[in-house]
Symmetry: C2
């Protein structure tokens, strides 16, 4: 929200709740033929014949999932929609419909809602989903956005967290830790802006575009999953990384009844992540990769016997392998030490 332009903005009461929803719904176009009923009725409807319906939901809350002082509303919409679709994609399914509920306090204007939905629409278009349901209501304190993604999957392709075998390869769709660094940069610049730190540290986002984009406007590795699918390669297990690589690995191992071994020097970390870490002694790229969160990558397992094919033909990283449950979940450092993988809990509640 741009406070400077409030006088040019339209109060939501000028349109009313229904007027606002009509305005939003009227501009949504269909991105896929599964949609039978879009916004404007009690529910959305889709037709997925002979397939499994896969659904997931993400609730984004102001102050927890996003700070509007540096998180543009358009990106809040984009990221929340991408988060919901990422969870559906992590079952090896195709997200096809989005359901959106937004709770707005009195400080939001019609133009703010437009920005939020521009982001949601952009995400829907990027990944071929339709917006199927929209509801808007009052909120007492801030902005709350709940988005559900509904998708479909052929029965034989459904990939759960529980299917990993003790000999499987552990694969990652791309580098991790960058989004966490983007968040640290934004939080640091916010402290500078609000005068909590020394004046001579001027806001400086330049050169750090990559980590900012990974935090503010993350994308999904849908092309990689589509390529694997096209070649009849079905992961034995898969998990969407939103709470760090350690968390994802522990979830797959626990669900599958196995252990896991990750090799620290195999974990992909972007140069931009290292570059930003050098600006602050408290930042470790490896810790960001393991526990940083918001990576939006896929962590998945593949059978050992396709190692040659997979390592050559796809844009992915093989970072370790599953093992017997009794061996636990460990990280092997370059000097050969084994450290137990740990994931932080829900500290903020």
């Amino acid at each position: 929200m741009n406070k400077k332009n409030e006088s040019q903005k339209t109060p939501i009461r000028d349109l009313g709740r229904q007027g606002l929803m009509d305005r939003l719904s009227a501009r949504f176009t269909s991105n896929n033929p599964a949609t039978v009923q879009g916004p404007g009725d009690d529910a959305s409807a889709a037709c997925f014949r002979d397939s499994i319906t896969v659904s997931a939901q993400k609730l984004s809350l102001e102050g927890i999932d996003f700070d509007l002082s540096y998180f543009p509303l358009k990106f809040v919409g984009y990221k929340t929609a991408v988060h919901a679709m990422g969870q559906v994609l992590a079952m090896n399914a195709t997200p096809l419909q989005l359901l959106v509920c937004a709770g707005l306090s009195q400080r939001f204007y019609v133009e703010d809602v437009d920005q939020l939905f521009l982001g949601i629409e952009a995400a829907a278009q990027t990944y071929g989903a339709d917006i199927g349901f929209v509801d808007i209501q009052s909120s007492y304190t801030g902005l709350s956005v709940a988005i559900t993604a509904v998708g479909e999957c052929d029965a034989g392709l459904l990939t759960r967290r529980s299917g990993a075998r003790s000999t499987d390869l552990i694969c990652l769709s791309g580098n991790v830790g960058a989004a966490y660094m983007g968040l640290q940069l934004l939080e640091r610049e916010k402290r500078v802006f609000t005068g909590e730190t020394e004046k001579d540290e001027l806001p400086n986002l330049e050169g750090h575009e990559y980590i900012l984009e990974r935090y503010l406007k993350p994308e999904l590795p849908k092309a990689l999953l589509d390529n694997l699918k096209a070649d009849d390669i079905v992961p034995t297990s898969m998990c969407f990384l939103t709470s760090g690589l350690a968390d994802g690995t522990l979830r797959i191992a626990k669900s599958s009844g196995t252990g896991a071994k990750l090799f620290a020097d195999k974990i992909p970390i972007a140069k931009a992540t290292y570059d930003f870490a050098e600006t602050d002694n408290n930042l470790s790229p490896l810790v960001a990769a393991l526990n940083g969160g918001d990576d939006f990558q896929m962590l998945f397992t593949l059978p050992l016997d396709i190692y040659e094919t997979v390592s050559k033909e796809y844009s992915l990283d093989i970072i370790g392998h599953m093992c017997e449950e009794a061996l636990g979940c460990t990280l092997v450092t370059p000097d050969g030490r084994s450290l137990a993988l740990e994931s932080p809990g829900m500290e903020n509640v």
Copy 2:
């Protein structure tokens, strides 16, 4: 939340986010065979062969949708789940899975979360749905609960708001206005309790159980819809009443390109609603019925030629008829006057 018992309650950090979700997920049992994957993975999965998937979402926010000083957490869960399922039911579909996201601030304990989910589970069991997805996160200010209902529908049975014809009968599944009265009673007793009104008005909920239950623990007219379905009667349009009868009528008329005529003396209003209205001169049963909200009844239209059958064999009320669009949407009073139907906007934003 019972503040008195806080010392006996378990802080959420003792279990951690994952521990809390595991605890909740472990006790959910399956209520229908469509569920392929329940909580504990990235998304839920269901199999609806040769049918249409129908989904709807409800976001409930503390201070807006519920006041925890008189709204027990169990009922918050129950009502939010019922609201989501009601929207799916209003498409003439069967809700089969629930997706739940809850945002909790630091004042909530594990036992509070248990209460919330006891209500959600009870609603799921009542209507034959499974809980397919659970996510819990921090919240800055209060409790936010987003629930999506996913269901199925035979293609020929899907009922939208847009199918009413200008000669159709307007039907209601049961009485309206009671939930609004329940809310007024609770708000009045809260003011007495907090000392905002005279001391001699002692809290008095006795004798008003019906209107309280309609507000705190509403049910859906699923049996009526099942009966109509069993007799091959498909409504031409349907709308779930959450914002009053006037709002629902206007929505169906607008979507269908028709007008509508309601007869005030045909609108079913419970005796308990009249009884409570007599305690306060500012309360009108008819206004509560038209604009009160939270009725959770179905408003639907049926062809005129089945009037005889419908009026005799089903537990429903015929309250008017659709008409040509040019005639507008009106309420005919017992003395023959026609008043334009109006619905309040989104005043609180």
